[in-house]
């Protein structure tokens, strides 16, 4: 439970610029695809009423880039601007993974927001988006206090 965060690791200007640009691309992708609209996400999750397959196509197009991209990149020795990769190492399937995904799916279905679209949607200044994001931060905090 130690929260003595050490001084932030410094990052190079190249890394900083690259991450900012990736965030911009991400935000553009979410807004252009309409995934920032909860009603559209629910339209995908609702198979039984005028189904909107857009989200499936967003994921497919995303994976059409990320699968070859990741397979290529992870075979290189190190990232362009960093000495090493920072990748998850766990491979075991545990109850937390399944329960967490289940609870996430429940929340996703209730409001139509997952974390990325919720963050980008803040630019609409819609009060309900702020409500969702604050509650999401609270959920992260509850998990942090219980498990980290």
């Amino acid at each position: 439970m130690s929260e003595n965060a050490t001084a932030p690791e410094t990052i190079s200007n190249q890394t900083a610029l690259s991450l900012f640009m990736a965030g911009v691309l991400f935000g553009l992708g979410l807004t252009i695809s309409g995934m920032t609209n909860p009603a559209k996400v629910i339209g995908f999750l609702d198979f039984f009423n005028n189904w909107d397959p857009s989200l499936l196509l967003v994921m497919t197009a995303g994976l059409a880039v990320s699968i070859p991209g990741f397979q290529f990149v992870t075979k290189t020795e190190h990232p362009l601007f960093e000495p090493r990769f920072y990748l998850p190492t766990r491979t075991d399937i545990d109850a937390k993974l399944l329960l967490g995904a289940m609870l996430f799916g429940l929340g996703w279905g209730l409001a139509g927001f997952c974390p990325g679209p919720a963050i980008t949607s803040l630019i609409s200044l819609d009060g309900n988006v702020f409500l969702f994001v604050l509650a999401m931060f609270a959920g992260v905090t509850i998990h942090h206090n219980a498990f980290d």
Partner: protein
């Protein structure tokens, strides 16, 4: 399927895939938004700056869309405020317990051929579909 928007879905999806690949290729990091948020709220030994930069980029991307789209963005939240709060809590807690969300598991993890991410993505989509079925049709 009159709400289906295939062209914008493909363009948006390609951009999201490119964003995740750029992040890994140049900086070696996983563009998983729930993890980025958690690490920004509760920094560990690692840096917080890169997370804030990525999140600032996501907001900037949204603002650029707004600019190109004559200041209009379609965000329809149909849930009541109380349900929206419950949903936010579940999404925040669930993505941490399950180590990722749509981006981290769905776009990055599957691209690494991670068994955990395949499974998590299947479970949260199924769970979302069941939730919407219950709220809309039961």
């Amino acid at each position: 399927m009159e709400n289906f928007t295939p062209v914008s879905a493909i363009i948006g999806g390609l951009l999201i895939g490119a964003a995740a690949t750029l992040t890994l290729w140049t900086t070696g990091r996983i563009a998983g938004i729930s993890g980025i948020i958690a690490g920004a709220l509760f920094p560990k030994k690692t840096d917080v700056a890169w997370r804030l930069l990525f999140l600032a980029g996501m907001l900037t991307g949204g603002l650029m869309y707004l600019l190109f789209n004559q200041g209009s963005i379609n965000i329809q939240i149909q849930s009541s405020p109380l349900t929206t709060i419950a949903a936010g809590l579940l999404v925040g807690f669930g993505t941490r317990l399950g180590s990722g969300c749509t981006s981290g598991h769905g776009i990055c993890g599957i691209a690494r051929f991670s068994k955990r991410s395949f499974l998590a993505t299947s479970v949260f989509i199924l769970s979302g579909v069941l939730t919407v079925y219950v709220t809309n049709h039961v």
